[in-house]
């Protein structure tokens, strides 16, 4: 009898699906507890290859339940080495968690947030990069508003779904749209309403390229190939930009003549340069006001910037809250309108490049100039004249930020010291 049972078991084992063995004891319960996950996994390439639950989730059930056994980049990368390397080298993999920052000193932090930046049991953060805007948020807003997108550095499931491996999902532009949309970088909207996007809609992918066609060519996970500026729209140094441009022209050349692609991109470079000049002019106006103590309120009179304290910040760590009105105008100008102009141009979208971008950008400059005039007029109307001390402070600020040379600084100071009151 025993012999027959053993024989039957051997036969059953031989013919049972590989997947059932791989999933081991998990499926029994999880068919009821998380049926969708089990169903997606059963249809996946992982199941077909015999990759079961434990391979990715581990076998410590308590840890899994506590959310401490996240399936992150390291887990996936163990098998998907090429994707790991490409992703890590790309913008998706480098410092995109700049949406984070250490929350240990924030009053309303949640202990679980540590995992955003720290590996289990490791005090050292995965990166020193911090984001002032993130640090100003409540833990709830930081999680949904920042980390949902900025977790992409270490979370493959930010694009790929968790248990399904169907590439149809991840290749759909909607997958990119989860993050690449909205006022600050509406690439999805730009693409949809560009010639590329409309052709894609009407004639299919072969005629109208989508996100992956240009940014993840041949299935590469390096989404930064061919891009000539950083994520804040600051152009790369010439040498770095040159090689990136060659890569993008190569991508375009699979449909267009290389010279045509080159010309188009050069035109967009020009648009970027012109827009940057407008942006810089506005930034200069704000720094001049700050030098003269005319911002309202001045950085000293606001809650301190999470990373820079009471200093004026107009770079990538600029805040949109607890600032003066003119800085808020500049934030909108830089983060929304400059980005739309430049990215609109590179995505071949006339409306975004011009009306949503360029026109807004120029109207912002009008607003900023007008606000600066108002602040200056208000100063003139208030106490008598600017004291020597205030004037010297303004000069010192200018000198320290490199706006005037040592020689000019000395001369200007002498003029102020000689001034008769």
């Amino acid at each position: 009898m025993i012999g027959r049972v053993f024989l039957a078991a051997v036969v059953l084992a031989a013919f049972a699906p590989v997947a059932a063995l791989a999933a081991g004891s998990c499926v029994g319960c999880h068919q009821e507890k998380t049926p969708a996950a089990v169903a997606q996994w059963r249809e996946s390439a992982h199941a077909r290859a015999g990759i079961g639950c434990e391979k990715c989730h581990g076998s410590d059930h308590d840890k899994i339940v506590k959310g401490e056994a996240k399936v992150d980049l390291k887990v996936c990368g163990a098998c998907h080495d090429k994707a790991l390397r490409e992703h890590t080298a790309s913008r998706h993999g480098m410092g995109l968690h700049s949406g984070w920052g250490c929350t240990r000193n924030l009053p309303n932090r949640k202990p679980g947030e540590c995992r955003f930046c720290h590996n289990e049991g490791n005090e050292a953060p995965r990166s020193e990069v911090q984001c002032a805007r993130f640090l100003k948020q409540s833990p709830e807003m930081a999680e949904i508003g920042c980390n949902s997108c900025h977790s992409i550095e270490t979370a493959c499931d930010a694009c790929h779904s968790k248990h399904s491996t169907d590439l149809k999902i991840v290749r759909n532009p909607n997958s990119c749209a989860k993050c690449h949309m909205g006022p600050d970088h509406p690439q999805w909207e730009m693409w949809q309403t560009s010639l590329h996007g409309t052709l894609n809609q009407s004639a299919g992918k072969a005629t109208g390229p989508d996100c992956l066609t240009c940014h993840m060519t041949k299935g590469s996970h390096d989404v930064s190939r061919g891009i000539t500026m950083n994520s804040g729209g600051v152009p790369y140094p010439a040498k770095q930009a040159e090689s990136a441009r060659r890569e993008m022209v190569q991508v375009c050349s699979s449909c267009h003549a290389p010279n045509f692609a080159k010309r188009e991109l050069e035109r967009d470079d020009a648009v970027r340069g012109q827009s940057l000049a407008i942006l810089k002019e506005s930034e200069q106006i704000i720094w001049d006001l700050n030098d003269r103590g005319l911002l309202d309120p001045m950085p000293d009179d606001r809650p301190p910037h999470p990373l820079s304290g009471s200093k004026l910040v107009t770079d990538s760590q600029m805040l949109y809250e607890d600032t003066s009105h003119i800085e808020r105008l500049f934030f909108k100008m830089k983060k929304y309108d400059y980005a739309r102009t430049v990215k609109g141009a590179y995505h071949q979208n006339p409306a975004y490049a011009h009306w949503y971008g360029n026109a807004e950008l120029k109207m912002d400059l009008v607003d900023i100039r007008s606000e600066a005039n108002r602040l200056q007029e208000r100063r003139k109307g208030a106490p008598a004249r600017v004291s020597r001390e205030e004037e010297l402070k303004a000069l010192k600020n200018k000198f320290e930020r490199g706006a005037i040379s040592q020689e000019e600084y000395g001369k200007e100071k002498a003029k102020v010291l000689e001034r008769r009151d």
């Binding site: 020597r388 001390e389 010297l392 402070k393 010192k396 100071k413 010291l417 001034r419």
Partner: protein, 388 residues
């Protein structure tokens, strides 16, 4: 000799030396005269007023000694610090209290004019003007891993509560923390500039990997701007302002006492003395360091090393405390201190601008020189070549 004999002989010698007057232990040039003016408790504070009155502590009381030598006991108290107001009409005393230190202001008759208590140990008091008292106070908190020293500057207008500003907060390592409290308290000294616009103070620093030191820092009272002028070894005396307000006398328990410029700490002069209690005359010509009276840099008279001194504001002499007595040394011929410029507001403005780093030292000195050239009647901003 048995032990008792040795002890008795020692006691005899000790009592004899105590009886030896300062005169016999000093070397004075013929033009100087010295006389005992009062008795005082050992190591107690004393101060001299503009009118030449001396306030000192004797038998647990504060006494005021007139220039004629009359002694008046004005309060029963044992202050750790005493200072006369610039006009000489009031006296501030720092009195140890259960919860810190009481600052009490007396008039010359001993009437209490004002009082305030601060939670720390006051280590120095000075007057900024006839209404504002400046005080430095130190709080010592001992932990297992080190000792936290918090230095506070108090600005008191004699009516409300003293306004506190933290000057320094440093955790010193256990080795340094073994020093007795009295020595740690000595590391926080304070001086008010002759222009009353700035203080200079010393604080203890204990950086990791480097030996501890005392930093000499100036702080502009109006702007709050601070500058480290120089560094010196722990337990050093000073800083004391020279009468120009642009230099400081800084002692050094390991080396020489220096006269350094503000704010860059450039050494202008040096004396081979530790400078435990430095005192400088109104003109800067006389300097008293560890029992040596210097005149224009040369030793002029010598006293026992442990003597402490304060110059009379009129430049005619100095009061010396030695053991349990106070002596008046007269016959000095000190010149007037540097004259304040006619355009004092402009000088004060320049000093403020310098403290904030808005003008360089060179620019400050150039502008200050021009103020000296400015005739008295000239109005603000008006130059010689401009018609009135």
């Amino acid at each position: 000799m048995n032990r008792l004999t040795v002890l008795l002989l020692s006691l005899l010698l000790f009592s004899l030396s105590g009886c030896v007057g300062l005169g016999k232990l000093s070397q004075l040039p013929p033009e100087l005269q010295m006389k005992e003016v009062a008795r005082t408790d050992a190591a107690s504070p004393f101060t001299v007023s503009r009118a030449g009155r001396i306030a000192a502590v004797h038998e647990e009381g504060i006494e005021v000694i007139s220039p004629q030598g009359q002694v008046a006991r004005i309060a029963a108290a044992t202050p750790t610090m005493l200072s006369f107001s610039p006009n000489g009409n009031m006296l501030v005393a720092a009195l140890p209290a259960a919860a810190g230190t009481t600052l009490r202001i007396f008039d010359l008759n001993g009437k209490v004019m004002a009082e305030a208590t601060v939670p720390e140990r006051v280590t120095a008091v000075a007057w900024r003007d006839n209404t504002h008292v400046a005080a430095a106070a130190l709080n010592i908190k001992r932990f297992s891993f080190g000792t936290l020293l918090t230095s506070t500057f108090y600005d008191w207008d004699n009516s409300g509560s003293p306004v506190a500003t933290t000057l320094n907060s440093v955790t010193i390592r256990p080795q340094l923390a073994k020093l007795p409290d009295a020595l740690l308290l000595n590391t926080l000294n304070l001086a008010v500039s002759p222009y009353n616009d700035e203080i200079a103070y010393s604080v203890l620093k204990d950086p990791p990997l480097f030996p501890p030191y005392q930093a000499i820092i100036t702080r502009h009272i109006g702007s709050g701007a601070e500058q480290e002028v120089t560094r010196t070894s722990i337990g050093s005396g000073g800083p004391v302002y020279a009468s120009d307000g642009d230099s400081l006398v800084v002692g050094d328990s390991q080396s020489v006492t220096r006269l350094v410029t503000i704010p860059d700490g450039r050494e202008l002069n040096g004396w081979p003395a530790q400078g435990s209690y430095p005192a400088i005359s109104r003109s800067g010509h006389y300097l008293f360091l560890d029992g040596h009276l210097y005149r224009d840099g040369q030793t002029f008279a010598t006293f026992p090393r442990q003597s402490r001194a304060e110059f009379l504001p009129d430049g005619s002499g100095l009061v010396i405390a030695y053991e349990k007595r106070l002596y008046l040394v007269s016959g000095l011929n000190d010149q007037e201190g540097p004259k304040k410029p006619a355009n004092l507001p402009r000088l004060l403005e320049l000093r403020k601008l310098r403290s904030e780093g808005l003008i360089t030292e060179k620019e400050y000195r150039a502008q200050r020189e021009r103020l000296k050239e400015q005739p008295k009647g000239q109005t603000k901003g008006q130059r010689k070549d401009q018609p009135k």
